[in-house]
Symmetry: C2
Subunit: 327 residues, 2 copies
């Protein structure tokens, strides 16, 4: 099987490629060829024994998608995106990459299919940013998409296109709305959602972290390992059961910040918790107020998608995958 | 006030222009200038006393939208679209007009606003085709959009763009999801939904009509007069109450074909009803099975949108507006 990862240099793309290298495949199917694409050079994961190639390319540029799709991968992961903050700041860039880039890719597949039978599986990462407040207590599978950012708008449009192109048999698409990924590895960043990871990741290695919101804030999480599991399952599942509704709320864990901190206390002790400093930030609180808190992702669960069920588990996954199993 | 109607040669566009001419305005505000745009020449309505101009133009063509928006209308009605059947048959044409055309218009407004303060009201006609089966008994205001046609997909994307451009203050948009318009004036056509109008309009003038589905079929209707009322209200309402959810299910009447026929019997007698001939058509039945049957359009009602509450009323509106008040 030939797998292409567009957005292969991002955190989720890297972890997906590493998982393919580690297992030699995708959901039990051999991956003989791996093509990694991003605007900065993605890294071929250590230990991959098949044929790998790396492309530095921008999906927003005319002709890029056609050249990539001409390689006829069996599975295309479309993870590339301008993130929320940047798409909000730079209107043109967000629409050029997140909307036009996605459409270029889908159109390139249509053109390739017109040249000779070609119907790849396309896995598209959408986001819970397609939803906008006010929310019900739990967001169900049939709740409407009313994004309140340009990023969420662009993802919601990508979902609609994915459905229409799939309905017409141009490709076999699955869209997955990722929860906030926690614990995000790496350094603290300035993303408004960064603190959900910072308050666990930093204390686990003896560093201080800032909590800018009250610990009553509730949010929707899944680990990077769960995200790779979603992508793998979306790439290999039987799509017949999706019918015409190909975009799914992924499972996740709804937890308050207090619940996150209690889990940290259980796993790493009081000393770790003491490293969290409360510094309320009204701007961040205002942004977080507009975010979903809880979902009832019944369809995805019934279709075999799984995620963590406790924050203890999310923290343990981080310790195993990022800290060599040791705190 | 300067009003532009894009799609001014269509049935709803013509009736809107006629209403502006008849009342001299829009929801009580004077219309001094009327600009009618379509791919075939729209007709300036008789009796319009302001300044009128007509443009034969295709929104899908580069530069067209910019030239129109340079006229700086205060209100832009964007009614132009490739209809459902044609957008399904001609993939490229549907996306070119219904998606690219809409985006060209919105981008032209953004560019015009960048040249000097300009924030017009934009009224966009969406459709209940943004919804796809399976449906709840009544479709609520927060039901998700899962279109099952390219036309519905393109309308749903237009809605998302309208929301995002409005949220950013580029224009002041209102999207309205029209029910099936009944009784559609004119000749019977081959649209799958045509029979809902045919079985009333034709018998009212002593002609035979074919009913291709069982009379238990339930559907969602509003008159052409109600549609003009929706457009007028959308153009003049206070949009503050819409917040970030600028697209609305319009009110309408949920009725079975049997209820339509009973209303015809009450208004025009047994002789009219006898002109309806049942000729079941499995293809049409299959299409109709995928359509919404009933809505609970609470938001639109609370915001002042109104429609007919009985089929007797819908038939009387047709008799008044199309048959000079006489059967």
């Amino acid at each position: 099987m030939h797998v292409m990862v567009i957005g292969g240099a991002g955190m989720v793309g890297r972890k997906l490629a590493q998982s393919i290298a580690a297992t030699g495949g995708l959901g039990g199917r051999d991956v003989a060829q791996l093509t990694l694409v991003d605007v900065v050079a993605p890294e071929v994961p250590a230990g991959f024994t098949g044929s790998a190639s790396v492309h530095v390319a921008d999906l927003g540029t005319e002709g890029t998608a056609a050249a990539l799709v001409a390689l006829r991968p069996d599975v295309i992961f479309h993870l590339a995106a301008i993130v929320s903050g940047e798409a909000e700041k730079d209107f043109d860039k967000g629409y050029r990459i997140n909307l036009d880039g996605t459409r270029h890719l889908f159109e390139a597949i249509r053109a390739e299919g017109a040249r000779g039978a070609y119907v790849p599986r396309v896995v598209f990462t959408s986001s819970i940013a397609v939803f906008g407040a006010p929310f019900p207590a739990e967001i169900g599978d049939e709740f409407h998409r009313t994004p309140q950012t340009s990023y969420g708008t662009q993802k919601a449009i990508g979902e609609l296109l994915l459905n229409d192109y799939s309905r017409r048999g141009i490709f076999d698409g699955v869209g997955i709305r990722l929860p906030t990924i926690c614990i995000r590895p790496g350094k603290p960043n300035l993303a408004a959602s960064g603190f959900f990871s910072n308050i666990l990741r930093e204390p686990l290695v003896g560093k201080a972290a800032v909590l800018p919101v009250p610990d009553t804030v509730r949010h929707w999480h899944a680990s990077p390992r769960a995200a790779v599991g979603f992508l793998t399952h979306a790439a290999t599942m039987d799509t017949a059961a999706l019918d015409h509704r190909r975009c799914l709320n992924m499972p996740g864990l709804s937890a308050t910040v207090a619940e996150q901190i209690e889990a940290l206390r259980r796993v790493a002790g009081e000393k770790a918790v003491a490293l969290i400093r409360s510094e309320p930030d009204a701007d961040i609180m205002k942004i977080v107020d507009g975010w979903p808190r809880d979902f009832a992702p019944e369809r995805a669960k019934a279709l075999g998608f799984t995620a963590e069920t406790s924050f203890d588990e999310i923290i343990r996954v981080h310790i195993e995958d990022e800290l060599g199993g040791q705190v």
